[in-house]
Amino acid sequence: MKHRGRGLAAIEYPTGMNQGGDPSQAWVKIKPDGRVDVFAGTVDLGQGSKTVHTQIVADTLGVPYETVNMDVSNTDSSPLCTGTFASRGTFIGGLAVLKAAKKAKEKMLEIAGQAMEIAPADLDVEDGVVFVKGSPDKKMTVGEVSAAATWGFGELITGTGAHLKAYSMPDPDTGVCDPDHAISYAACVVDVEVDDETGTVTVLSMVQAYDVGHAINPTLVEGQIEGGAMMGLGLGLLEASYPHYPSTEGRGGEFGAYLMPGLPDFPEITSVIVENPSADGPFGAKAIGEMANNAQGPAICAAIHDAVGVWVPQQPATPERVLRALHAKATGAGEPRRDGKTVIFDEDVSVMTLADESSVFRDVIGV
């Protein structure tokens, strides 16, 4: 028989390498025709970081997005980036390109000021046009300014920028430190159907709300939410490098021998972007990359419990694990042990059961 259930999970996730100390640098220059080149070491893994950085540079400089080219191709022309991990690309890499673009903008206005014989402070840029504040008819295109820099003044319009949060060492006793740039949040609701004969769990729908600060590109944010959901589905229901962990038997060495979700497994999905901007992020952004696969697994386990009243405290919740839990419930063995006011679940896998009596692990929790 099939049973339906709903589960909720809520999570948070930090931006940037834990404890900091992970710089990113960037360099912006403007060609004589006004096209903009951005050099940074921030690798694009397919998630669209080049696109997001290009958007940040375009708006900071005041030029059309289409006129900005981003080059992350090699370590000779691109300055240092610690790497694309730790959900740091948009925030730290983004701040580096933003600062570089600001410097380039200052230089551009300085050149335009000389060409137009106006103080740079009285100028601004929008849509690729430098204009006098208050009298927008007095203007030069960015291309004209850059040509003037090149052929008239013998200058290069350029700017560099970098972002670094100093490394913060945790206190070894308390853990006190300042380890991150911002915290993103998410909540995930899944509706499942559990077949009590086969143990199969099918996720029918998934509704998720993500606070990413300000969404620099909502389409790419949704791409991360949906891609992460797919991965979370794998974590929650299917994937295991060691299906009989800790034994190493049964490892899959090819995609055909390793269960991952495919598009037919993908439920109806609704993504809500909540914007609670970070005071420090580029245009208020926080991060989205990594957190996107963290909430689905526990939400699925909560939904399984709601559907059939059993707990699967191991990921993935395979049909075998669900059936074993259903069997334990049917034989009355699935209930937690109560000891006074303490309710103890999962005793069968606990170190209190499995580690030697002398093991220091047994002292940590003590129940």
Binding site: G48, D76, I183, A209, I216, G289, D356
Partner: protein, 461 residues
């Protein structure tokens, strides 16, 4: 038009989906040799001897490298942060996991290189592997290192977070809920496997075409292995066919670079899917035991956590991951009293590394299972139990960092609205703002009480 906030298409998306993007495996160079690696068939063994002479004499083979050929074999990815280097690039005297790299061969084509691997004679003396991390301190457990099976965080053998008066919280609690959570190791499973092409240039530099997620990181590690200046290397990449954390460790580059230097030819090494999945690092398996002290009206008063992180055979980024894990053991909620202990345990599994959500995925799983179970034991709505304990502006994280812009309340309310979950008026109208009135109970009144460094009372526990 403003670009920020606009739904612009992905800069390089069309090229990706029409197969026009060039990845490392699409590149080649004149005279290029193919590289293959010999890997351990055992989880744990002493290496008695390695003889490469038959392979070197094989027609079409241009070079063979082992631990004897690498200028610096043991390089740590996080040495700059004080994490000692413990992993040899080529196995030296022992293997600690099935799939560990022992030797590299460069030959005129892949088939010749693969055939030559069978001609490398290695004599092993097998040992009993250590696989169940829960038994790391058991007297009869096999030892991974001479010092034992647990990473040392100076001055303790675990990462601690100690906050508030945990014993008082558990004393005061009406209910204590305890569970054990075991999320699995999984593959990063990018479509593009690990790989690189190393080209020796006429000026003596090496150009390294690579799929790394972190070009400068890889450049630093590679320069150390080769004992060359980073400036003598040019890494080319920046476009990656999926990483998810699995392309931060340096995998193919040092071997291919050594063979390129030895043969003075371009050398390309692209992992097979089998190598990528069985020998490349995976997300770790974790074991998390958590006990929550809860009042009968649904306040989280305190939490104790024991975490065991299965690092596999070497440390890589595991000590970093377990620290990050420790800092997020309160989740999206404010827990005034915490005592957490996270152990990084070595085993004879394949070394684990970063993967999307590194360290926190396991914390989120354990915490959210605890929240669902806690609400169930109390007979409370799991949505309202979460909202009641939600982070609020001004609250302190486990690290005592002040939260400026938390969104537990906003994201849960947004989900409730989207699915039509009925919240009682108190929770439907709850505002994401600093604590006052009923949302400022006594136990959250002085969250910073023990925020000073080196709290002696906390440290003693």
């Amino acid at each position: 038009m403003k670009a920020v906030g606009a739904r612009l298409p992905r800069y390089d998306g069309l090229a990706h989906v029409t197969g026009r993007t060039q990845y490392v495996a699409d590149w080649s160079a004149p005279g290029m040799l193919a590289c293959k690696g010999l890997r351990s068939p055992h989880h744990s063994a002493r290496i008695v001897s390695i003889d490469t002479s038959r392979a070197e004499a094989h027609p079409g083979v241009r070079g063979v490298v082992t631990c004897k050929d690498i200028p610096k074999n043991v390089v740590g990815h996080l040495e700059a942060l004080g994490v000692p280097a413990d992993e040899p690039y080529f196995a030296d005297g022992e293997v600690r996991y099935k799939g560990q790299l022992i030797a590299g061969v460069a030959a005129i084509d892949e088939a010749t290189a693969t055939a030559a691997l069978d001609l490398i004679d290695v004599v092993y003396e097998e040992r009993t592997p250590f696989l169940d991390i829960r038994k790391a301190f058991d007297p009869d457990a096999p030892k991974i290192t001479e010092k034992g099976n647990v990473f040392f965080y100076d001055p303790y053998d675990h990462r601690k977070v100690t906050k508030g008066d945990v014993d008082a919280a558990f004393e005061k609690a009406d209910v204590i809920v305890k569970g054990s959570y075991r999320p699995s190791a999984i593959e990063q499973a990018p479509i593009e496997p690990q790989g690189c092409l190393v080209v020796p240039e006429s000026d003596g530099r090496l150009t390294v075409y690579t799929c790394t997620q972190a070009m400068y990181f890889t450049m630093g590690v590679l320069a150390e292995h080769l004992q060359r200046t980073p400036g003598s290397l040019k890494l080319v990449g920046g476009t990656v066919g999926g990483g998810f954390g699995g392309k931060v460790d340096s995998a193919s580059e040092p071997c291919a670079a050594l063979l390129a230097l030895k043969t003075r030819k371009p050398v390309r090494w692209i992992f097979t899917r089998e190598e990528e999945m069985l020998c490349g690092s995976v997300r770790a398996s974790w074991h998390v035991e958590m006990a929550d002290a809860i009042s009968k009206d649904g306040w989280l008063l305190g939490r104790k956590v024991l975490t065991l992180h299965d690092a596999g055979a070497y440390t890589r980024f595991s000590s970093y991951g377990a620290t990050k894990h420790s800092f997020h053991l309160a989740g999206a909620y404010t827990v005034p009293a915490l005592r957490t202990r996270a152990y990084v345990v070595w085993s004879n599994h394949v070394p684990t590394t970063a993967m999307r959500g590194f360290g926190v995925t396991s914390a989120s799983f354990a915490i959210e299972m605890q929240m669902t179970r806690g609400a169930h034991v109390l007979g409370m709505d799991p949505w309202e139990y979460r909202l009641k304990n939600a982070n609020r502006p001004g609250d302190l994280m486990p690290t005592r960092k002040v939260l400026e812009d938390p969104s537990t309340i906003d994201t849960i309310q947004a989900c409730a609205k989207a699915v039509g979950h009925p919240l009682s008026a108190t929770y439907a109208e709850m505002k994401n703002e600093g604590r006052s009135g009923e949302w400022l109970p006594d136990h959250l009144r002085d969250q910073a009480a023990d925020a000073k460094l080196g709290d002696p009372q906390g440290a003693a526990r």
